[in-house]
Symmetry: C2
Amino acid sequence: MKFKIEALDPQSKARAGEVTTDHGVIETPIFMPVGTMGTVKGVHQRELKEEINPDIILGNTYHLYLRPKTDVLEAAGGLHKFMNWDRPILTDSGGYQVYSLSGRRKIKEEGVKFKSHIDGSYHFFSPENVMEIQRKIGADIIMAFDECTPYPCDYNYAKRSMHMTHRWLNRCINHLEKVPYRYDYAQTFFPIVQGSTYTDLRKQSAEYIANAGAEGNAIGGLSVGEPAEEMYAMTDVVCSILPEDKPRYLMGVGTPINILENIALGVDMFDCVMPTRNARNGMLFTSEGHINIKNKKWENDFSPVDPAGITWVDTEYSKAYLRHLFVSNEFLGKQIATIHNLGFYLWLVREARKHIIAGDFREWKDKMVKQMDNRL
Amino acid sequence: MKFKIEALDPQSKARAGEVTTDHGVIETPIFMPVGTMGTVKGVHQRELKEEINPDIILGNTYHLYLRPKTDVLEAAGGLHKFMNWDRPILTDSGGYQVYSLSGRRKIKEEGVKFKSHIDGSYHFFSPENVMEIQRKIGADIIMAFDECTPYPCDYNYAKRSMHMTHRWLNRCINHLEKVPYRYDYAQTFFPIVQGSTYTDLRKQSAEYIANAGAEGNAIGGLSVGEPAEEMYAMTDVVCSILPEDKPRYLMGVGTPINILENIALGVDMFDCVMPTRNARNGMLFTSEGHINIKNKKWENDFSPVDPAGITWVDTEYSKAYLRHLFVSNEFLGKQIATIHNLGFYLWLVREARKHIIAGDFREWKDKMVKQMDNRL
């Protein structure tokens, strides 16, 4: 994997870059649509590629491990072939999902024992076997196995957990050093900074992660319920320590506003279920603000879903029609809203990139942040 | 509306024809995908048009009347504009849905009082107001308001019901004669033959309907649980009486085999929820037989969904991937299966048409009927 910085914004810490993988180039800043089970819910791969056009998508190790299971993915020749997606894929490590299983998992130094949410069967994730699972899934970018702490988190717990995440990082790296590439392309490894919302822990963790010398680095444990200001403060601290010549990935973030603010702090990569999950609930993001399409006010509004939208659904369907689909619980509504929202998120990061290159990102960002806060 | 017969099969009563409407030409025999609520579930209009490519689709008056409601459709300028579909639309009259509401409706000479399945509110359908609703929906083909009898049906009930359906037919015609076209295109009216599975009643009803002199005629009250042989016997009797120079529409039918057998008896138009509903349950129709994609046997089958399929989904996705989507309850699975099945149904009627024109329909039909009965 190679990373090249193309432009630095003079008024912020924003960067425009280019990550080169064996499955193609990722222009940064980038938003990665979440394809939990090897599918971005309700979107054909062809639509994803041709209409939404992200350079990279994300898969969830925990979910793919349970279904279709690692051996099926291996027999298929990896997730790319299984789902028919030829661009880069990043997989998370299952750390966040395991954290979400609160009450159904036990975290120990050795690893995490957990109960499947599907059938209650017991499973065990360790830094070593999670690296193996991700290798077999065939992700272009493999994430370290970490513990994602909740918010708020007791200082001592956050500190102990961070140190365990660091020890787990060493075990991940040791394991990956021993094994060759699983397929005929490179698989890159990103370690993850933890430390909850404590500045001293975040600094310590960022330094530890920076020293690992990986090809890219991630910031985890944010977007778990903390106020946006705390998130930005932590991102700022961590970005000032992580190497400048490596891409920075802020995991699980966020709203369109969160994304722009974090780009301004030096983040290059994002993922979040928000555009897809909110779409399925009838919430549309637009550059003018957000829309609850189920509202009665759209019942007789035959104007396009989004006259300024970038995907074909925005002008093919009307607000009244989309509202009807949601009110009638017709799945086509969720399909339309999903394509719209992902199209919007991708448009947003591409515009951000253009403005970074043009040198006027800060001004544009401040204007957009105000606009997007509206409820239409 | 114009109807032109292009070819008659020498070995059966099958016909290839062309129905011309103000929204375009319908090549017959045709299968009409069901778009109950102004959407073929899980399929974008663009996919429907470009990939599945039916000449006409069907909407359900009962459902559209309740949601989005007639006044919204009227404000939109009709269902075509509301859903963005510029080819012909046929609407049923609600007769079948009302029949399905057993226990929640009261049928009287004046009309049917029924309780909405959505909110329990009371509504009334009469021949006159159902014509008005369909006019406002803007269907190219409007269906008579009829009573669909159950199977089995007591002879006396079937006879009384048939006569009421005939009286209702007169009221439909009287109403339509008084009103101009609602939009800037012609709306054609089809009466419906009833008579349950009684040959004498079917004959009597077919004669009554033939005398109405409509531009097309329909056969209702079949595909409600009767054995296929009874269905074919009734279709045969009715088709021998209905005028040859008008299209014949067999409502709610059926399996691919049912469709071919009824084409051989002289039917031109079909609709059925089977390809779409079964798709959502993981059942795929193919020319070699049907597939339950949820079966374990497909878990590691990375071959295309249908190597001989006609839509892009057939070769874009593998059986193993499609099975994974169904097992994981991912909606993309239903989307893929729906496009596949509708693509197959449309292929089937188009092939039938080609073989009728080529003069070898009977032979091809007999071969297909055997093949399609397999379980793969």
